[in-house]
């Protein structure tokens, strides 16, 4: 059974078809890359999976259960987390408090057993260390650099202790070494057992990270398979890579 | 409650004419809120201001209120531009429009109302014009001119704006600015300038709406508050961002209020608008023709 199953998911905005009958499966522990031109529907698909948008047609199954009608916060509690393309930190909270939010509302809510304050503190600390922000725990998001904001974004997503992490263009606009940092982080998370869907434009990162590659163009999936084969697919080259 | 054909027809006609007037009152909000996404709750204050200015010009110079409002159009346009500039610099640019922008407009609404109380007191004011008083009869139906003239003027104003927004370059830029500011920039049109023009127009309509208001009924400073809910009810009911939707919403509300006032008593009429607003928000927030 796949961890995530997207079955014939469709989404329109008025007359504009953002997603047309998308089928996608993600196995547990897999590293999936999702690529496509701007406006092809990648973020819309993420939003439909996570529940921030409602798909009109089709079903999203997570661990076999239908997510239809489930609000976003419940999906997070089930184990789906995402980072946002443009970082959206909680500006009035410190870095540590930002991470504490998903810990408070997802991890603690999920297990049912009341965790202690100390436990919360420890988990928060671990996450900060994982992304290398432990020295900036009391800093405000407004004082962080771009790459630190991306790290915070990922740390916050990880704060929900997900089974599936969707990283939406986490590396956009970063330098080579910064991209490497994020990449290493994602690989490490995957090694710990977390399934990762990486949405990216940076082909070198996508190719080195993905075990499987899916391509979205104009709301439709045009390719899905081994990365090396997908990038040689003439339709993919024409629609996306030839740019 | 006596239900006669006579009452029914006249309530219907009064409702339609009232609806027409409501178009004038709401069109500014349809532009500001529906298109520009600016929650200008001070709009009703501008309308009342327009009413009082029409009153002054009418009582001092005997100027026809509608004429007075047309003369005041550029002044109100300038006011709108100025208010938008403050709003943009203080809130939109900083991304704080949610809480602070609302508080800002609320403050403006409040200052205007209290300012008017201080200058004019709480007595009702009204204007004199040759069409206030006489009625036009057609069989059983009664068309009081003081309702008919504002209705016609309002619909003319709507027509002109609709043409402007759909046929002229600036007009179409205004329609586009909320949906795709990037595209506008690519055409080297400054979205901020467009929004400023649009908001100026929005407030300018208040000049006319105010004159129409004081033709229909006597005005005192707190009258504006009754209209806040009406205006947003119509905008939401008709569908935000759709000017034709505004007309439909306005007509519906006018007719409903008219029937309520005729058959249940006028003191219930304000509740109709607001009750409808709450219901619309609860069950069909995108309205009838909404995006």
């Amino acid at each position: 059974m796949a961890l995530l199953e997207v079955q014939k998911v469709g989404k329109r905005f008025g007359g504009f078809v953002a997603l047309e009958s998308i089928d996608l499966q993600v196995r547990e522990g897999e590293r999936l890359g999702l690529i496509g031109p701007n406006g092809s529907g990648k973020s819309t698909l993420v939003n439909c999976i996570c529940g921030t948008l409602t798909n009109e047609t089709g079903t999203v199954l997570f661990q076999g259960s239908d997510l239809n009608g489930l609000p976003a916060y419940k999906r997070t509690r089930l184990g789906i987390a995402r980072s946002f393309q443009l970082p959206r930190p909680f500006m009035s909270l410190s870095v540590a408090e930002n991470i504490r939010i998903p810990l408070l509302f997802t991890v603690h809510a999920r297990e049912g057993v009341k965790r202690s304050h100390a436990d919360l503190h420890d988990r928060c600390d671990d996450l900060l260390r994982m992304v290398g922000l432990q020295d900036k725990a009391e800093a405000r998001p407004i004082d962080l650099t771009q790459v630190d904001l991306r790290k915070l974004e990922l740390a916050r997503a990880m704060g929900a202790e997900p089974k599936l992490l969707i990283a939406d263009e986490a590396m956009a606009g970063l330098s080579h070494s910064e991209i490497d940092d994020i990449l290493k982080l994602l690989v490490r998370l995957n090694e710990q057992g977390i399934t990762v869907i990486m949405i990216e434009h940076i082909m070198s990162a996508v190719m080195s990270f993905s075990q499987r590659l899916a391509v979205l163009v104009s709301g439709r999936k045009i390719a899905d398979g081994e990365p090396q084969e997908v990038v040689r697919n003439p339709e993919v080259v024409r629609a996306y890579l030839g740019q | 409650m006596i239900f006669t054909y006579d009452l029914f027809i006249n309530a219907l006609i009064a409702g339609v004419m009232l609806g027409g007037f409501y178009v004038a009152v709401t069109i500014g909000i349809s532009i500001a809120f529906g298109i520009l996404d600016i929650v200008n709750i001070a709009h009703v204050a501008f309308i009342i201001l327009g009413a009082y200015i029409a009153y002054i010009l009418n009582s001092l110079y005997g100027l026809d209120p509608i004429l007075a409002s047309i003369i005041m159009l550029p002044v109100f346009y300038a006011l709108g531009v100025a208010v938008y500039q403050v709003y943009y610099v203080s809130f939109e640019k900083r991304g704080q429009e949610a809480l602070r922008g609302l508080a800002f407009f609320f403050g403006l609404l409040f200052i205007t109302e209290v300012g008017l109380i201080l200058v004019f007191g709480v007595d009702y004011r009204y204007v004199q014009a040759p069409y206030i008083g006489p009625s036009f009869r057609l069989g059983d139906a009664d068309f009081p001119l003081r309702m008919l003239v504002p209705c016609v003027i309002a619909l003319i104003m709507f027509g002109l704006l609709q043409v402007f927004l759909s046929k002229t370059f600036t007009g179409r830029a205004i329609m586009a600015v909320s949906q795709d500011p990037l595209a506008l920039r690519l055409m080297s049109v400054d979205p901020i300038r467009i929004k400023r023009i649009a908001f100026g127009i929005s407030v300018a309509t208040a000049a006319v709406a105010g004159a129409l208001l004081i033709i229909i009924q006597p005005v005192e400073p707190s009258v504006g508050r009754e209209f806040i809910g009406r205006v947003f009810a119509i905008a939401v009911l008709g569908g935000l961002g759709s000017l034709p939707g505004t007309v439909i919403g306005a007509m519906l509300l006018g007719i409903m209020e008219s029937f309520t006032a005729t058959f249940y008593g006028p003191s219930w009429a304000p509740a109709v608008a607001f009750g409808f607003l709450l219901l619309t928000l609860a069950f069909r927030p995108q309205g009838i023709l909404g995006r």
């Binding site: 921030t52 419940k74 | 928000l281």
Partner: protein
């Protein structure tokens, strides 16, 4: 500081305040003090939803009036002691808050704000047409002259409002520092991201709306007793709507002490102004100060202090 310590300190301050005022013995001070404390409760209540969660309520007068008119309705049946009336007022207004929230909080915050505007007018229209509570003509309440131990009934009302203010402020502080406060802050900062982080946004907004409405109703419940004559015009007064917003925004919306500062400052100024200048001018000044603060000092007086002394906003 622990919650219990905070309440003890607050009660101590309250006791000192009450004792000092009794020593002065001027009945008018008790009346003015009542009004200021009433605003402390209203401002604090508003801020739980407006400052903590970022959802603006323009219809504070409606919730306040619901409390006042619950008292009148009950008075016509059987007069009850003030604490009971306060609880009833809180329940009624809390219910109204819950209902309004349930209908509109799924939409953008702007629609909630508009709905609260609408609510005030709907409620006012209903009251005007409800003859049992006096309709537009108003209703009289016979205020008892005396009460056991304290003597003056006005002092008793003042004491009640003082205790209510302490409860309200303590509750606000408790919420602010609890998981509820964190969740509301996340909602205020970025509702989308909050929901994606597992925050049950709708549920938390509903809690905030209900609590906020309830406290406003509690503030309104003793109102008929202090002014003896209640009519829709005085109860749905614009002053409540604007002050409930202006006081927290001027004082500072991110923490419990902001509304308190704003309420005491503006409340006292307005009491002085109403006596010396007209009440219309006084309201005008409030409006001007509100707009000025919103533009220039968006984090209010608390924010100004914190930027001078370099401390965090939250």
């Amino acid at each position: 500081m622990r919650w219990s310590t905070f309440i003890i300190i607050a009660l101590a301050i309250g006791a000192v305040l009450f004792g000092t005022m009794r020593w002065f013995g001027n009945e008018y001070y008790f009346f003015a003090g009542y009004v200021v404390l009433q605003y402390v409760v209203l401002a604090t209540a508003w801020n739980i939803l407006g400052g903590y969660a970022g959802y603006v309520n323009f219809g504070s007068a409606a919730f306040f009036a619901a409390g006042a008119y619950s008292t009148i309705a009950l008075y016509k049946i059987v007069p009850l002691p003030i604490p009971v009336l306060i609880v009833v007022g809180g329940l009624v207004s809390g219910l109204i808050g819950f209902a309004t929230g349930y209908l509109t909080l799924r939409l953008r915050g702007v629609f909630f704000a508009i709905a609260t505007l609408a609510l005030a007018v709907v409620l006012q229209t209903l009251i005007i047409n409800w003859d049992f509570v006096g309709g537009s003509r108003g209703a009289y309440i016979l205020r008892p002259n005396e009460i056991v131990i304290l003597g003056s009934y006005i002092q008793y009302l003042f004491l009640m409002m003082l205790l209510l203010a302490i409860v309200a402020v303590s509750a606000a502080r408790l919420i602010e520092r609890s998981w509820l406060g964190y969740g509301l802050a996340a909602i205020r900062d970025d509702e989308f991201a909050a929901e994606a982080s597992g925050v049950p946004t709708l549920r938390m907004k509903l809690i905030a709306t209900t609590v906020s409405g309830a406290f406003m109703g509690m503030a309104g419940a003793p109102f008929p007793y202090i002014i003896s004559f209640v009519d829709p015009a005085s109860t749905f007064n614009l002053a409540y709507a604007v002050n409930a917003i202006a006081m927290p925004m001027i004082g500072g919306t991110t923490t419990w002490i902001g509304p308190v500062i704003g309420a005491i400052l503006l409340g006292v100024i307005q009491q002085v102004a109403t006596v010396t200048i007209s009440s219309a001018v006084n309201l005008l000044i409030v409006g001007l100060v509100l707009v000025a603060f919103v533009i220039i000092a968006p984090n209010g007086i608390v924010g100004l202090f914190q930027s001078w002394f370099g401390r965090r906003v939250r």
